[in-house]
């Protein structure tokens, strides 16, 4: 059973094609790295999965439901953290958590509290006074508050220092995966992906290069993920 099924997903901005006929699947319970160079179309593709952008063509199915037709129902089951999360910065952390919780049928307040403590975020602080890293951590805590079956993270490690990034990727993602949940996270930092992912989707210039098991990729190429990626992207560039 696949948690994510993407079929011919395409996005054009005027005459420019950002994502072209993208198709891949992500099995349930896996941690999938969504890889590509800067500007490869990762964020656009993820925004289409989250119904933040309207596909020019194609469709995406999340947890067996069409991402556009069942958007509201899906958002009860999908958590999302964007590349640079933006919150209502006039609110205090406590108010923002209460506000976010009001949208969900089931809200895991203990988990959110636990994460806020773990990230040392002061609940009485205004959101606008949080550092970039704390802001990303707060976004993650809020995304996990609804106990999502699928977590989609767009460059989640951006802006985090090395220690937090390691904690974030290895600690949080593995924790989530242990609960049998699926994680799709985009990154251009391949060595970090390699540590936690069991599936990879590689795209370049909006097109799919490869999707499948990370182990199989490494075995077939006989190299590390980074070397394999460089070879595949470089080959395309030469073509």
């Amino acid at each position: 059973m696949n948690a994510i099924v993407v079929e011919n997903l395409t996005k054009r901005f005027g005459r420019r094609t950002a994502v072209e006929a993208l198709s891949f699947q992500v099995p349930e319970g896996s941690v999938c790295g969504f890889l590509g160079r800067n500007g490869a179309g990762k964020t656009t593709a993820i925004r289409m999965l989250m119904n933040l952008a309207r596909p020019s063509a194609g469709r995406a199915t999340l947890l067996g439901l069409d991402s556009r037709a069942h958007h509201t129902a899906l958002m009860q089951r999908v958590g999302y953290v964007s590349e640079s999360p933006v919150h209502y910065d006039g609110m205090k952390v406590r108010d923002l958590v209460r506000f976010t919780a009001s949208f969900y049928r089931a809200w895991n307040a203990p988990r959110v509290g636990e994460l806020l403590d773990r990230f040392a975020i002061d609940r009485d602080q205004k959101v606008r006074h949080l550092s970039r890293g704390s802001n990303a951590q707060l976004a993650l805590a809020l995304a996990l508050g609804g106990d999502p079956e699928l977590l989609i993270l767009d460059e989640p490690a951006t802006g985090l220092d090395v220690l937090v990034r390691r904690d974030f990727l290895e600690g949080i993602i593995q924790l989530i995966q242990r609960e049998g949940r699926t994680v799709l996270f985009s990154s251009h930092l391949l060595h970090e992906v390699e540590r936690v992912a069991d599936q990879v989707v590689l795209i370049d210039h909006g097109r799919l290069i490869h999707s499948g098991s990370l182990e199989e990729l490494k075995l077939s190429m006989g190299r590390s993920l980074e070397e394999s990626f460089v070879e595949m992207v470089g080959e395309r560039a030469r073509l």
Partner: protein, 618 residues
């Protein structure tokens, strides 16, 4: 409370606090008499609609576009809530804040009832309650707010949405003006969101039917637009219009407005003048600035015309010119009679002159010692002048248009709060016994009623006179022994309008009486000419005065004269007598209408002759 709604209200707290604070500050200033009473009029007629429109646009445009630009919209869109619910919640919050602001803005005009100098506003307040005014105004601004919210969904910056809403608001205001001008007698004025001088908004507010129809349509439109906005965000969370799309949309709004105005304009058959006579005027060259065009200095800035047969008397303060239009294509000046030390009396568009054969009767005042004297000057084309003295000039007296019937001349007069009909026999230089028409009630406190006019019109064997309390019918079948045939009490629309002029006109079997604030016409049925009875009252938004010759009615309109006739529930425009200049006064004689153009610095004044028979409605 729903957290999302609470958040939206929180986002708008600046508008609410600012608007209410501003209203409170104004209320305080009003209470302490810092402004003159005229401020309330200025507020109601200009600042209030502008403030309410600014609030409607300001609240609406920021709600989605600002969140999209700040990317907080993404935060909401990845929550289990439909985009439609997001827009509807914003709409509810925005509507509540707008309602509070509009209520505060309108309430200012009612804050201090005794402190209003402006008569128009006094009329509004006497006739329309705060609640009625709110009920009529809010849906209009609500609709504008909904449009702004919809624009906010289309773009990614508040400023872009504000620009689009601003273009739309200006286009709508221009459209309102164009509709009112191009479509005479249309009910468009009931739909305006501001006081445009026609009283359309007041009338709509007073009438439960008009209020519910216009308010209902505006409210339904607001909901429809909000639903469209919600649907648009549901369809795609992305912006719909970039900079180019915005420019195209703004251009489209302007084009649609122009095309709508063209489409709404009433296409009337036009009639050109058959003859034109130019008043003598001195063409003066600009002395100090080369770029200023030459200007005509006309000696007859005041005055008007009267006609009898093909002879037209053009009256100014200093002379009467008799122009012969027997060959309309080549009118010729027959004679000029000087009127030394003379000033003709005129009020609004009513010119106080009439003609008998080759003489013109003009009411005016002549310089005299110890005080100036009011006279009817009887000026013959041969050059001779007779005068009927009416008494010394008193500011509270009023004299109507003289009406010649047979050998006698009738004149409505108000003197010492008594209105009467005075009768003169000019040939015999004597005055007959007057008829008392109306004894006015004592003046109201703090209201300057001025000189209450007596309007008079002649039809068949009857004179009809509008005085402050009555519409009186006087039988003049025997001109020497006039008698009052009927008297209909008249209730002014507002207390302080007691004694306000009510111009009269007639066409066919109908007598028309123009009333004010809001402007309307009462039509009386004349099937029993001695006892007219009210047949209908309808809106009259074509102008203040009209002249009737029995076959059709006429009034100055745009660059000429509008010919119209009474229809079952109002008036119907027939022809446009196109002069090319604004018209000051008109005179009717047989099949001809003579129009005197209004004074302008650019053009010499002219008298234009239009052959009005037969017209479409005859």
């Amino acid at each position: 409370m729903n957290q999302l709604l609470w958040k939206e209200l929180r986002d708008l707290r600046g508008w609410l606090a600012g608007g209410l604070g501003l209203a409170a500050a104004f209320a305080l200033l009003l209470a302490t008499d810092v402004f003159g009473g005229s401020f309330v009029g200025l507020w109601m007629q200009a600042l209030m609609p502008m403030s309410a429109a600014a609030a409607a646009i300001g609240i609406g445009v920021a709600q989605v576009a600002r969140e999209r630009h700040a990317r907080t919209l993404d935060f909401l869109l990845v929550r289990p809530v439909t985009p439609q619910a997001i827009v509807w919640t914003k709409f509810v919050a925005g509507s509540a804040v707008l309602a509070a602001l509009v209520a505060a803005a309108v309430a200012l005009a009612y804050a201090k009832p005794q402190f209003v100098l402006d008569t128009g506003l006094r009329a509004i307040r006497e006739q329309v309650s705060l609640k009625q005014l709110l009920l009529i105004l809010f849906p209009r601004f609500w609709c504008l707010y909904a449009l702004s919210l919809a624009f906010s969904v289309l773009v990614d910056r508040s400023l872009k949405a504000a620009a689009l809403a601003g273009v739309l608001a200006v286009a709508l205001i221009a459209l309102a003006g164009a509709f009112a001008d191009l479509a005479p007698f249309s009910g468009f004025v009931f739909w305006t969101p501001f006081f445009d001088g026609t009283g359309g908004l007041i009338e709509a507010a007073r009438s439960a039917r008009l209020s519910s129809v216009t308010g209902g349509v505006y409210a339904a439109l607001a909901l429809l637009i909000a639903a469209t906005a919600a649907g648009l965000l549901q369809r795609s969370p992305e912006r719909y219009l970039g900079t180019r799309g915005l420019a195209v949309s703004a251009a489209a709004i302007v084009i649609v407005a122009v095309v709508s105005a063209e489409g709404a304009s009433v296409r009337l058959p036009e009639l050109a003048p058959a003859g034109v006579w130019q008043l003598p005027g001195a063409l003066t060259a600009a002395i100090h600035a080369d770029d200023v065009p030459p200007a005509f200095v006309d000696e007859s800035d005041e005055g008007g015309i009267a006609a009898h047969g093909s002879l037209v008397a053009v009256v100014s303060n200093s002379a009467v010119r008799f122009v012969d239009f027997s060959d309309p294509a080549h009118p010729r000046l027959r004679s000029t009679v000087e009127l030394p030390l003379w000033q003709s009396l005129a009020e609004w568009s009513v010119f106080k002159a009439a003609t008998i054969d080759d003489a013109v009767l003009v009411v005016g005042q002549k310089k005299a010692l110890p005080v100036d004297e009011v006279q009817i000057a009887i000026v013959h084309s041969s050059g001779s002048i007779d005068a009927v003295p009416l008494g010394p000039v008193r500011p509270s007296d009023y004299y109507s248009v003289p009406v010649p019937v047979g050998p006698l001349v009738y004149l409505g007069v108000t003197h010492g709060r008594v209105c009467s009909l005075r009768i003169f026999d000019p040939a015999a230089h004597r005055e007959l016994a007057p008829l008392a028409l109306d004894r006015m009630r004592p003046p109201a406190k703090a209201i300057n009623e001025g000189a209450a006019p007596v309007r008079i019109i002649h039809r068949g064997n009857y004179l009809y006179l509008a005085s402050p309390s009555f519409l009186t019918t006087v039988d003049v079948a025997d001109p020497a022994a006039p008698r009052i045939a009927g008297r209909l009490p008249v209730q002014p629309k507002a207390d302080f309008l007691y004694g306000f002029p009510r111009p009269l006109g007639w066409q066919g079997q109908r007598l028309f009486e123009t009333r004010y604030f809001p402007q309307s016409v009462t039509a009386y049925d004349l099937s029993d000419p001695a006892h007219p009875h009210p047949a209908a009252e309808f809106t009259d938004h074509g102008g203040l005065a009209f002249d009737g010759d029995g076959r059709a009615c006429y009034r100055p309109w745009r660059s000429g004269v509008l010919e119209f006739q009474s229809a079952r529930d109002g008036f119907q425009a027939l022809r446009y007598l196109h002069s090319g200049s604004a018209i000051a006064t008109i005179a009717l004689s047989g099949d001809w209408l003579y129009a005197l153009t209004a004074p302008t610095p650019q053009k010499p004044r002219t008298v234009q002759a239009f052959r009005i028979a037969p017209s479409r409605g005859h």
